[in-house]
Structures are given as C-alpha cells and as structure tokens.
C-alpha cells in the first residue's frame, strides 16, 4: 500500500472500567472505502470518533497523512476541516434552515461565502427545493442528506459515517445510500460503520469485522461474506444475514 491517508496503531480506549477498543491497527488508503461491521457495542462508533479526535484515545497513535493527531494537546481544529463526520442521529441544528446548517462552518471557519458551491451540493443530492426548510420540516432521509452536505461543504478529504442509515425508516435508507455511492464514484476516502450488509458487499473496497474492541477479521467483501475464516465472523454474519 502507498502511504495511507489514515493509520491507527495500537489504539485503545476505555470508558470507565469498560475497555471499548483493545489495540486497533488499521490503514486506510486515499480513495478507499472501508466498511466497519460488527454487533452493537463492538467498538465501531468509538473507533470512528477516535479517528477525528472527538473521543481522545487512551493509548496508541492516529496518523493522518503521517501526523499523529492523537498526541495529547494536539490542535484538532484544522484537522476537523479535513475529516467530515456524519452521525446516526443527524444532529442538524434545529434553529437553522437546511442552507444555514450547511453555510455556517464555511462562513465562520473558512471565511468563505460558499453560496454557489453549497447550492450545487443541494442540487446534486436532490434537495434544491428544500434549502429554506427547517430540519423538522424534512424527512429523516432528507435530514441525513443535509447532514452529509454539511460535512461535504467543508471540502473534507475523508468522510467518517457512523451508522447513518440506522435511524431511518426502511423506505428512506436507499436515498442516503445513493448519496454514498456518488461519493464513492468521486473517489472520496470513506470509513463507514454500518449494518447494511448488502450495501457493504456492493461498494466496500474492504470490510472490517470488529468484535469486542478488536479487529477480528478483514478483507475484500467477497471473501468476508462468502468464506469468512473466523468462527465469530461466521456467527455474526449468520445472525444478521439469516
């Protein structure tokens, strides 16, 4: 692999007595799409939150383009512009319109009135008519697409997606996954925690199965889904694919 965009080295993280990550090593190449799968509580979300410093790691290194951003005291402000994150619960700002949600960070952080660029993003993801609406006037799928646009407006090099379809009604999942397909076609580097196995199989370059805070098995989707080596991977897949 050429120099990876993002590398994790021996990352550990505990919440109180509970050790959530027990030494994670991982490399993510530029333009790669990695899907994290595993049961709830296996550490997928925490791992994503450690990748952009939202959760400080206890030990180990998180290297972004070779720079250790997990160094205690490291200024994460500039890093966070380069890594976008989208959450399961959307977390749009309820007192702002969809457009204002997206425009706030470019205006305050980049000092840029990105109106044309933002309008183009709304149009691209089928939300041109919804820019002036407030989050509670939008469906879950629309809100989540706005959240993706909000992250993209900062022109990130990497996107972290934390189970972004898990809070959606089943009929709304497709429109959000379509957005991810488009991002993949753009060559965006993405790490996606997901329960959508069919989607992971379709689009991922690599699937990482996490179990109890460690990477239990990883590989190309074809191999992970059709001939998993580990018993616990087989067990997990059997329970979710049924």
């Amino acid at each position: 692999m050429p120099d990876p965009r993002l590398s994790l080295r021996g990352v550990t993280k505990s919440f109180g007595e509970v050790q959530v990550l027990r030494g994670i090593d991982m490399d993510i190449a530029a333009g790669e799409m990695v899907c994290l799968i595993g049961a709830s509580g296996s550490g997928k979300s925490t791992l994503l939150r450690c990748m952009n410093g939202l959760e400080p790691v206890d030990d180990g290194a998180v290297l972004l383009d070779g720079v250790d951003i997990a160094e205690p005291g490291f200024d994460l402000g500039p890093i966070r512009q380069r890594i976008g994150i989208v959450f399961q619960s959307f977390n749009l700002f309820p007192h702002m319109t969809a457009y204002e949600n997206v425009a706030l960070a470019p205006r305050r952080v980049l000092g840029e009135d990105a109106r044309a660029r933002i309008e183009a993003l709304f149009a691209r993801f089928g939300l041109a008519d919804h820019m002036a609406k407030y989050p509670d006037q939008l469906s879950g799928g629309q809100q989540q697409r706005v959240a993706v646009i909000r992250a993209l407006a900062m022109r990130p090099q990497t996107m972290l997606l934390d189970e972004i379809t898990s809070a959606l009604d089943p009929e709304l999942v497709g429109e959000v996954l379509d957005v991810l397909r488009q991002l993949r076609d753009d060559g965006m580097t993405m790490v996606l925690a997901t329960h959508e196995m069919a989607f992971a199989r379709e689009v991922a370059d690599r699937v990482v199965f996490m179990d109890q805070g460690v990477v239990a098995e990883e590989g190309v989707p074809e191999r992970i889904f059709s001939s998993p080596e580990q018993a616990r991977t087989r067990q997990f897949l059997a329970s979710v694919l049924r």
Binding site: Q81, G84, F87, S89, F93, L104, R108, A151
Partner: protein, 269 residues
C-alpha cells in the same frame, strides 16, 4: 351527530351547568355575607371609595409610567449581565477560573438577599459615600439593586438552558471545525435562549412588581404616589387603585408566559 358526540355534548352541558351553579352560589354568599361583617361599612369607605378612586386614578397612572420606564431600562442590563455571568460560570478555561468563581459567588450572593434589603443597602449605602450629583440619584442605585438581583436569577435560568442542549449538538459543531466560541454563539446559545423564554417571562413579571420597591428610597413611582394620596385623603383606596393598575399589566403578561410554556411543552411531547 354520532352516538359518541351526542354523549360528549350531554356530558359537557352537564359539567357547564354544575360549574355555573357553584360559581353563582359562591358569589352570592360573598356578596350577601361580607357586608354583614361589623366593619364592612368602614372598610368599604376607606378601601373601595369610588369618588377617591376616580380622583387618584389618572395621577397614579402617570406615576406608573415611571415604573414602566425603570423596568424598561433595567431589562437590557439584566439580560446582558445575566448572560455574562452564565457564560462566566460555564467556561472551563483554567486561566479564567477566577471568573468562574466570581460568577458562582455573584449568583449565591444576590439570589440570597431579599430584593427589598438590597434596595435599601445599595440605594442608601452607595449615595451615602457622598457622591456628587447626579451619581447620588436613587434612580441609578435603585436600578443597580434590581439589576444585581435579577441578573443573578436570569444567569441561572440561562445556564440551565445552556446545559439542557444535548451534547450531540456541540459535537456536531466542533466536528465541523467551529471554535468553542462560535459553537456557543451560533449553535448552543440561540437554542438555549429560546428554550428559557417562558421562564424569563415569569422573571419579567416579577421584576415589574418589584420596581415598586424603589419607592422606599425616593422615586415617586406608583406605590409612593399612592402613599402620598393616602396621607392626603386619609383613605386607602389609592392602594387598591395601584393594585388594579399592576394587575392590568401583570395578568396578561403571566397568561402569555403560561401560553408560551404550554406551547413549549406540547412541542416537546
């Protein structure tokens, strides 16, 4: 009409009738029994004297304008200071720790002293330092006393509002690269302030009433004007008239605050 609607209409008619009858009975008892009290004639002529009421009402209304003015210039000061104290208490910067302590002491101190006591202490104490005009004005120091007390309450209300905003909102803002300061200003505060509007409305109603406490240190506002009329006319009706004027303002304001509070609760349920 469906069977159900007919039944509910019948039930409602019945409830209204019972409420009407019971209210009429209570009113009749009050009207019939109170005048039987031995002192009723004396009370009526000294508290409910129509002639006195009509005579003092316009002057009291004019004096009430001063209450409203004191209220009006106190409010922006209270909210500015209350917000500053709330933010001071919420900051986590170790260099600003003294500010945090100051905020905590401020709130404890000024919430813990009765307003009327603070009006006396500040209103008489500070001009007592021998300040030249206009710095010895009771308007200034009376206002200061109100601002000190009410900003302490408003600070606590705002702080509870800030703490009620879910951490995921802050996380979302921080992850977009916004600074702590911008996160507070654009994301947290606008939501927090909206959420505590009803509580602050109640605060404003209380403030409007407490403005009358300044009468103790000099300004001829409505309560003092009523006192002057009482001495002049040897009659308590001016106090009743003053109460009526206060109610004209505070009842609609309280109802409006209740309305906001209910709307807020409905929106969240």
């Amino acid at each position: 009409m469906t069977r159900r609607a007919a039944y509910e209409a019948r039930q409602k008619r019945r409830a209204n009738m019972i409420a009407g009858v019971s209210t009429a009975v209570v009113l009749a008892l009050v009207v019939l029994l109170v005048p039987l009290a031995p002192g009723w004639e004396a009370v009526r002529s000294s508290f409910f004297n129509g002639e006195v009421f009509v005579r003092v009402f316009p002057d009291l209304l004019r004096a009430f304008v001063l209450d409203v003015a004191i209220f009006a210039w106190s409010v922006p000061l209270i909210f500015a200071l209350g917000l500053a104290i709330a933010l001071a208490r919420g900051n986590t910067n170790p260099a600003l720790f003294p500010l945090r302590i100051f905020g905590a002491v401020y709130v404890d101190l000024f919430r813990g002293i009765p307003v009327v006591l603070l009006v006396y202490l500040v209103g008489f104490g500070i001009p007592g330092l021998g300040l030249p005009r206009p710095w010895n004005s009771p308007y200034i120091w009376g206002t200061v006393a109100l601002v000190l007390t009410y900003s302490a309450y408003v600070a606590e209300v705002l702080r509870s509002g800030i703490e009620s905003i879910h951490a995921s909102q802050r996380n979302a803002a921080i992850c977009l690269g916004l600074s702590e300061r911008d996160t507070m200003r654009y994301v947290i505060l606008p939501q927090a302030i909206r959420r505590v509007v009803p509580a602050n409305m109640n605060m404003l109603v209380a403030l409007q009433k407490d403005v009358a406490l300044l009468s103790f240190i000099g300004p001829v506002e409505i309560l003092r004007q009523a006192g002057i009329f009482k001495s002049l006319l040897a009659n308590f009706t001016p106090y009743v008239a003053a109460a009526v004027i206060f109610l004209c303002i505070t009842v609609p304001a309280t109802r409006y605050a209740d309305y906001l509070m209910n709307r807020d609760r409905d929106a969240r349920s």
